[in-house]
Subunit: 218 residues, 2 copies
C-alpha cells in the first residue's frame, strides 16, 4: 500500500470523502429512480472504488439513498427561509420560486420519492418527507403571524401544501409546462382562494385574509 | 376425513369461500394497519383454519391485502357513480358524501394505504390507488361535460382530488372533525374557488364556470 498508488483515496478527509460520495449519490438519485442507481454508479461518479463506497456507507444503497434524501430535505427546507419583510404573498412567491427550482433540479428523484412504489424501504423516507411538509406549514403560519393555528387554518394550509406537491408532479409529467413562473402565480392565487373559502366559516382565517388583502403584491 | 368433522369447510362453494375470506380480510384491513393484521387473524375472523386461508391465497398476506384493496377500490369507484341529472355541484356533493362515508368506514386502512410506510410492497398498491384517482378525474370531466380537458383543467381537477385525499386524512387524524357534511361543503366550495382561479387564465375552464354559476345548488 504505497501512498502513490491510491492518491485520490488519501487526499480527502473522512468528512470530505463522505460529502463527495453523498454529492455523487445526490446527483444520480436526482435524475433517476432509486432502482436505477447502483453502488457501482455512485462509485464511478465519484471516481472511487465500490469497496470504498461500502466503507463509508456499510448499509449500501439504502443508506446512501436515505443520506441523500436527508441532504435534499435540508436543501428543500432552505427554500422556505425567507425574511419576514415585505408583503406576505411576495414572500410566498419567492419561496415557491426556490421550491420549483428545486423540483426542476431533482425531477426524476422528486417524482420517484413522492409517487412511492420504489424499491427502497418507505417508512423512513416517508417520515423525512413528512418533516419537510410540517416545516413548510410552520413557515407559512409564522409568515401569516399566527402562533396558534386552529383546525380550519391548519387544514387549509396543509391541503394547499399537498396541492403544491401534486401540481409539481403534474408539472414534471407535462415536461415542465406551463413555465415555472405561471405555475407559481397560479399556486399563490389558489392559496388565497382556498383561504377565502375557509374564511367564510373560520374567524381566525377571516382575520388573516384582511391583512393579505392589504398586501400590494406586485 | 369425515364430512361431519369439517362441515364449515364444505358448505360453501369455492367462490363463496373466497368471498367470505376476502370480506373477513377487508374488515380487518379497514381498521388496522396492514402490519397489524396476520393470516391467523383473518382465519379467526372467518372461522376457518390458517391452512385453508393459504389454500385460497397461496401468496399469503400480500395477496390477501391486494385482493382486499382491489375490492375496496371497486367500492370506492361506485361512490363516483352518479346520474348526470340535476345541478353538477349537487352531484359532486352526493359523490363526496359517499366518499366520506367510505373513508369513515375504512379509517385506519385508508390512512395506512395513503400514508405509505406500510410493510407491504407498494408499487402495485400505488397503481391501484392511482387508477381510482384517474377514475375520479374522468367522472368529474364527464359531469362537467368536457370530452377533451386541457392541461389547466386537468391540473385543477387532479390537484383538487389530491386535496380531497389530504383533507380526508387530516379529518381522520382530527377524530373525524368537523362533521362530514361541513367538510363536504368546504371541499365543494374549494373546488369552485380553484376552478375560478384557473378560469382567469384558461378559456375552457372559464366556459365551465359559467355553467356552474347557473347551478342552483341548494
Amino acid at each position: 500500500m504505497t501512498p502513490s498508488a491510491t492518491p485520490a483515496y488519501r487526499r480527502l478527509s473522512v468528512e470530505e470523502r463522505r460529502s463527495q460520495l453523498l454529492d455523487a449519490a445526490l446527483g444520480l438519485f436526482a435524475h433517476r429512480a432509486p432502482e436505477d442507481v447502483s453502488l457501482d454508479d455512485v462509485a464511478e461518479a465519484a471516481g472511487v472504488s465500490r469497496p470504498l463506497v461500502y466503507r463509508y456507507f456499510p448499509g449500501g444503497k439504502q443508506q446512501l439513498y436515505e443520506a441523500a434524501l436527508h441532504s435534499a430535505a435540508e436543501e428543500l427546507r432552505h427554500c422556505f427561509d425567507e425574511p419576514r419583510e415585505g408583503p406576505p404573498l411576495s414572500r410566498l412567491s419567492r419561496a415557491l420560486d426556490r421550491y420549483l427550482a428545486f423540483v426542476d433540479g431533482h425531477d426524476t428523484g422528486f417524482s420517484a420519492l413522492l409517487q412511492g412504489g420504489s424499491v427502497v424501504e418507505t417508512s423512513r423516507t416517508t417520515a423525512i418527507v413528512d418533516q419537510v411538509r410540517r416545516s413548510a406549514a410552520e413557515h407559512i403560519h409564522q409568515h401569516l403571524g399566527v402562533t396558534a393555528p386552529g383546525p380550519w387554518l391548519r387544514m387549509t394550509v396543509r391541503v394547499w401544501i399537498t396541492s403544491v406537491e401534486a401540481a409539481s408532479l403534474m408539472w414534471l409529467d407535462e415536461d415542465k409546462r406551463p413555465p415555472a413562473a405561471e405555475l407559481r402565480d397560479w399556486l399563490v392565487e389558489e392559496f388565497v382562494a382556498a383561504l377565502t373559502v375557509t374564511a367564510g366559516r373560520d374567524p381566525q382565517t377571516a382575520g388573516l385574509l384582511g391583512a393579505l388583502a392589504g398586501d400590494d403584491r406586485h
